[in-house]
């Protein structure tokens, strides 16, 4: 079993790479890295999970250019039910464009959304939401929000911003292509969601590495983030 990390040389901010590593360590999968100048393995191999993490603004354009030839392959993979997880601003790569200071930077156009970027107005927030009945906790730290039709998204927001602060639906979902603005160790701070991803990868009885310690920290965080008296944004 393999987990493919796309463009780790640029899509590596905020500890995002640990998501793939944690899942791989939890199920014994091999972690394979695909660089900017390489053809993704999922086009020709059985890859239960493809992962791409947060990048810089320059990185987004490099990733877009590198990935454009393989977009149809990703569509086919997704139509066939293949699992893909995108975190942070990797989500924006698959929208139509990023708008910044009057400039429109084209993206890959898989989803009917666009991002509006303001480099001098960074948005930092905690996040509390639901994936089905499951509590999701996480962190948002971003220069942009996205707008457009994201349907029901990936998560339903309880506290914090959805795809943008005006909507409850957070992230994007098409079959098992999942994208979220949440950054960092999403799978580690959400062990139930991590186990769900393992199930979708085909692991029959998923068990996480140090699951008890992860669950302990998760329960504490869910309680913290559910406390209405706790501040939710960083100033």
């Amino acid at each position: 079993m393999k987990i493919e990390v796309i463009y780790p040389e640029i899509c590596n901010l905020y500890g995002d790479l640990m998501n793939a590593e944690y899942l791989a360590r939890s199920c014994g999968a091999e972690l394979v890295n695909t660089g900017l100048k390489e053809k993704p393995r999922f086009l020709s191999e059985e890859i239960p999970l493809v992962f791409m993490g947060t990048t810089t603004e320059r990185g987004q354009e490099l990733a877009r250019d590198a990935f454009a030839p393989w977009l149809d392959g990703l569509k086919q993979r997704t139509q066939a039910g293949g699992l893909t997880l995108l975190t942070g601003n990797a989500l924006e790569l698959f929208g139509e464009y990023v708008q910044e200071d009057g400039n429109r930077i084209p993206m890959l156009g898989l989803f009917p959304i666009h991002a509006e970027r303001r480099m001098m107005a960074r948005y930092n927030s905690l996040y509390l939401g639901k994936y089905g009945e499951m509590d999701i906790v996480g962190f948002k730290s971003q220069f942009s929000h996205s707008y457009g039709d994201n349907g029901e998204g990936l998560f339903t927001t309880t506290r914090g911003a959805g795809l943008n602060p005006d909507v409850k639906a957070e992230g994007l979902r098409w079959n098992n292509l999942m994208a979220t603005y949440l950054v960092g160790p999403l799978t580690i701070v959400n062990p139930p969601f991590a186990k769900e991803l393992l199930r979708l990868m085909g692991v029959e009885e998923p068990h996480l590495e140090f699951e008890e310690a992860a669950m302990d920290a998760y329960r504490t965080r869910v309680e913290e983030f559910s406390d209405p008296n706790r501040g939710f944004t960083y100033h």
């Binding site: 780790p8 040389e9 640029i10 590596n12 901010l13 905020y14 500890g15 995002d16 790479l17 640990m18 944690y22 360590r25 900017l36 810089t56 603004e57 320059r58 990185g59 490099l62 480099m119 960074r122 930092n124 905690l126 962190f139 730290s141 220069f143 950054v183 960092g184 160790p185 580690i188 701070v189 590495e209 140090f210 310690a213 992860a214 302990d216 920290a217 504490t220 965080r221 913290e224 983030f225 706790r230 501040g231 939710f232 944004t233 960083y234 100033h235």
Partner: protein
């Protein structure tokens, strides 16, 4: 505007003794007040004729303090924000304290630490002749985003006439403000250098010019080292000030430049502190001091005790080691350093940002950019995690391979001290964060550890 400035100056001046009387020393309130009353306060406030600024992710406080201490030791009257903040309000407070009520400066030179994100609010009005940029790494993700953003922000906001003193071993910070005059410092190959990155945090994995593959002649840690792009030939700049022949046994280093070379006493055996000293030497050389004078001054100074402090208590060594909270780089460097120290060690991990806990809940993404793996070391026999993020540290340590039996946890920091074994001959490292609440807590915990060590030694 001038009348507004005079009112701001006097009101802010008046606030200073009032704050002292009411026991509020060391706050930035005077600067904040001055800026509120006169937004261009920094433009009009009297400044010393010579100004040097220090910015960068890591080491700016230490470098500013070194420069300040050495200039003071040379007999100059030095104004510095060493006791205050490095934002525009901190700089305003500092300059205010250096000016008379008639707006005349009382100092020869200012050594200012300036936060990278404050560049746009400080440099339009304060134009240092020299600006040292220590390095740029991933810092607080909330404030700084990523180093590429900070580099472009500095490029947009550093004053055009300021000469830059840059780290040639850092391809990110050495590229800022390319039109400014500049000199570079760097540290020659060390026996501990590698070529591949062994750290989780590596902010430069591709060529910043062409996105090609970078090859390192030698790499110190993270992206620091001498590199070249195999595709376009872009490479690290040559050193104007070269640190070499680092001798940790004798605690010396040679610094060479076009005028000659000099042996310097090292203030610490940690590489990041060697860089800090090298940066300070380069700045003082650019200020016109000769090597011999600087080396003499370096003999008279030490590292600020709020950052590193070791004390033998009974049969235990108690060490305070700052590991800046929310900063994967600073903590990785601290962990690497602590792990490399000889002897059996216990660690009390309390880098929690306690101010964050008042405002919201600390963002823990940085834990997964940080090399907790350094703490998986047989000589580190026990790690106590504590504070609001203690459970997150516990999980992170487990993922780093630290055996469960070597980890203890206590929710409250003061209780964590009771978990320490304090074995004779061992060291206890208290790793703590930099925000004021955390500093206060760390030194209270230290007092308790010292007391426990004294009792254990009886």
């Amino acid at each position: 505007m001038k009348l507004r400035f005079i009112l701001a100056l006097w009101a802010a001046k008046l606030s200073q003794p009032l704050l002292k009387i009411t026991g509020h020393k060391g706050t930035n309130f005077p600067g904040e007040l001055a800026l509120k009353l006169c937004p261009e306060f920094l433009r009009y406030i009297a400044k010393p004729a010579r100004i040097v600024a220090v910015t960068g992710t890591d080491g700016k406080t230490s470098v500013t303090n070194l420069i300040c201490d050495m200039l003071e030791a040379s007999g100059q009257r030095v104004l510095s924000n060493r006791a205050g903040a490095n934002t525009n309000a901190g700089v305003a407070t500092c300059l205010l304290s250096g000016a008379t009520i008639f707006n005349r400066t009382k100092f020869d030179v200012a050594a200012l630490e300036v936060d990278e994100r404050s560049a746009a609010r400080v440099y339009p009005y304060v134009k240092p002749q020299l600006i040292a940029v220590t390095n740029l790494f991933r810092d607080s993700i909330m404030r700084n985003g990523h180093p590429e953003f900070i580099a472009s922000f500095l490029t947009a906001n550093l004053p055009a006439g300021s000469k830059l003193v840059l780290n040639a071993d850092d391809l990110i910070s050495s590229s800022v403000a390319p039109d400014n005059p500049r000199v570079y410092f760097g540290l020659d190959r060390l026996p501990t250098d590698v070529t591949d990155c062994v750290n989780r945090l590596n902010d430069l994995r591709i060529c910043p010019k062409c996105a090609g593959k970078l090859e390192y002649e030698y790499r110190r840690y993270h992206h620091i080292g001498r590199a070249r792009c195999v595709d376009c030939g872009f490479r690290s700049p040559d050193y104007d000030y070269e640190g070499k022949d680092v001798d940790l046994a004798n605690m010396t280093m040679t610094v060479a430049d076009k005028s000659g070379s000099q042996t310097y006493r090292l203030l610490s055996d940690s590489i990041f502190n060697i860089y800090n000293l090298l940066t300070a030497v380069a700045v003082l050389r650019e200020m016109g001091m000769d090597h011999q004078t600087i080396a003499g001054l370096a003999e008279k100074i030490d590292i600020v005790s709020s950052r590193f402090q070791a004390e033998k208590v009974g049969q235990v060594e108690v060490v305070m080691q700052m590991a800046k909270d929310r900063n994967a780089l600073a903590c990785s460097r601290a962990f690497d350093y602590v792990a490399s120290r000889p002897g059996e060690k216990e660690i009390l991990l309390m880098m929690n940002n306690l101010s964050d806990e008042v405002e919201w809940s600390e963002n823990v993404c940085w834990l997964y950019d940080c090399d907790f793996e350094f703490l998986n070391n047989e000589q580190i026999t026990h790690i106590v995690t504590t504070g609001p993020r203690g459970k997150d540290y516990n999980l992170r340590l487990r993922l780093a391979g630290v055996p469960e039996e070597r980890i203890s946890w206590a929710r409250k920091e003061m209780d964590a001290a009771d978990k320490l074994y304090l074995r004779p001959g061992s060291s206890v490292y208290i790793l703590y964060g930099a925000d004021n609440r955390s500093l206060d807590m760390a030194f209270r915990v230290r007092e308790k550890v010292v007391k426990l060590a004294e009792e254990a030694g009886k």
